[in-house]
Amino acid sequence: MVRQSVLKFLKIFSFTSILFINSSFVAAQKNDAPKLDMTVNRGVIKPLSLAVPSFIKESGANSIISRELAKVISNNLDSTGLFKSIPQSAYVSMPLSFNTPVQFSDWSIINADVLVMGSVGLKPDGRLEVKFRLWDVSQQKEIGKGKQYFTNSESWRRISHKISDTIYTRVTGEGAYFDSRVVFVSETGPKDNRTKRLAIMDQDGANFRLLKHPPSLVIAPRFSPTTNKIIFTGYETGKPRVYLMDLSSEEITSLPELKGMSFAPRFSADGSQIVLSMTENGNTDIFINTLSTGVKRRLTTNNAIDTAPSFSPDGKSIVFESDRGGGQQLYIISTQGGDAKRISFGKGRYATPVWSPRGDLIAFTKIKEGKFHIGVMRVDGTKERLLTTSFLDEGPAWAPNGRVLMFFRETPGSAGAPSIYSIDISGRNLRKIKTSSFASDPNWSPILN
């Protein structure tokens, strides 16, 4: 096994043609060149070998937390496919103190590329103090600066996610995404009598919780940009209709202006508006609704099915699907209205477009020759790439950094059921997210505050 330096890894790690990054890590490595341009290499990426010893226990900290902090970080980074953790049983030594110099030979001998060292202590006021440092083993250099966090002891898991985000960002140059949650629909019961419940979990599947709502059918919850609200479609009145839920109180508000049948809502990036589709006289069109005033504005008037709208991050455009050209295709329209411009032209049907939080790509569901795919394309419709294929893959949801997607995959037949998966936009690293029930309609929160 040939070890690689983190810098060399940086050079081969990339998704797009040229990445310009500007991170503290790069600045620390090359003070004269804060921007490093990396050439793309679409070859196989050999994951960085990662060592995360249990955090050093200081002043009264719980040894379970010291182990779990390290475990959650390992799991997060392993889940990217860009890191591979060395089992702790292979370590030749364990760090005993946070401040003593690192014995790099103990880590190079087990082929570690990256070493994460942390400590956890309990302060007299009951808060946890968590510290960590990140090391490039072959260069024997620290990557970035050490960080320190204070938190109440129930929130240790979020500290693990924040540390994971810092490591991921420093090593890859990509944005954070571990300290985030996923809302979805938990499904139980037989296929012809399914019970659907709104549910929430951490990005890694931990802290699963069902949300309170009337027992009627619910569909496709979506986060507000501030992550404290969701919007979803429910059948409480017998018809599909858009509702807001405050996540801290789980109080549900209906939007009186959305009478009739309304569905497929999503927030704008600033949270002030929602875009959705409404059906009147059998015809489904796109509307924008301003939440503070309840003023609803029609955006499309076509006789076709116009649905599944999604805002661009700058709030200026909406991508949606329409069958106005005969089959389902993707279109972009200004939020001020006007003509919609078709962006998808390939064979098959395109549906459920979702604008990346980075603004560069649109993820979609494609149905072609009886198979379903999750794919991405540029905003102008070029560079389409299909990432998955199965009997039924549907409903992509962007990670906050725009580099990973979740979606749901349903298996065929009478026992068929949905599960949530994630995949890197490179098409690598397809993973099933463990949930305690069937699960569909995932939506990824922004990074938590």
Partner: protein, 158 residues
């Protein structure tokens, strides 16, 4: 005439519908009157089927709907909800819109034949409520449907 219809219904039951709950339940009834909702569901036919990704009414649907109109005209006090459904081969949002198109197609037909507008409400379930659960055309063709539910009305203001 009524008895012949009933006998035919029972034969149908014995021949091939043992899995269908609504039929089995009806077996327990000693007699089904023409005015019963079960009669509408099973003998008039409360369900019309659609072609893949279409909401146009096929000839088989039109003959069922004509029978529905005749029955519904005798029951002026009964409200009607038309449910539109799609098979699992489409995406969730599109199928909701497609189900709405199908329910609307049935509603338009009933209105054109003189059923009162204020009796009828429509709802779409998209692919959320499949009747059959296999993943092939045999089931999908039964799931692409619009069902006329009598005795139920959703408020249009909701």
């Amino acid at each position: 005439m009524k008895n012949i219809g009933l006998a035919f219904f029972v034969i149908l039951l014995l021949v091939g519908c043992e899995n269908d709950k609504s039929f089995t339940n009806s077996l327990d009834k000693a007699q089904i009157s023409e005015s019963d909702i079960e009669y509408f569901q099973n003998l008039v036919g409360d369900t019309v089927l659609f072609t893949v990704d279409q909401s146009g009414l096929r000839p088989d649907a039109i003959s069922i709907l004509n029978a529905q109109v005749n029955w519904l005209k005798e029951k002026k006090f009964l409200p009607i909800t038309i449910e539109g459904h799609a098979d699992e081969q489409g995406t969730r949002e599109y199928n909701l819109a497609l189900g709405a198109r199908r329910a609307t197609a049935v509603r338009e037909f009933l209105l054109a034949k003189g059923i009162e507008q204020d009796r009828i409400s429509i709802v779409t379930y998209g692919k959320e409520r499949p009747l059959r659960v296999c993943s092939n055309e045999e089931c999908w063709s039964k799931n692409r449907r619009a069902v006329t539910v009598v005795g139920k009305k959703l408020l249009s203001s909701d």
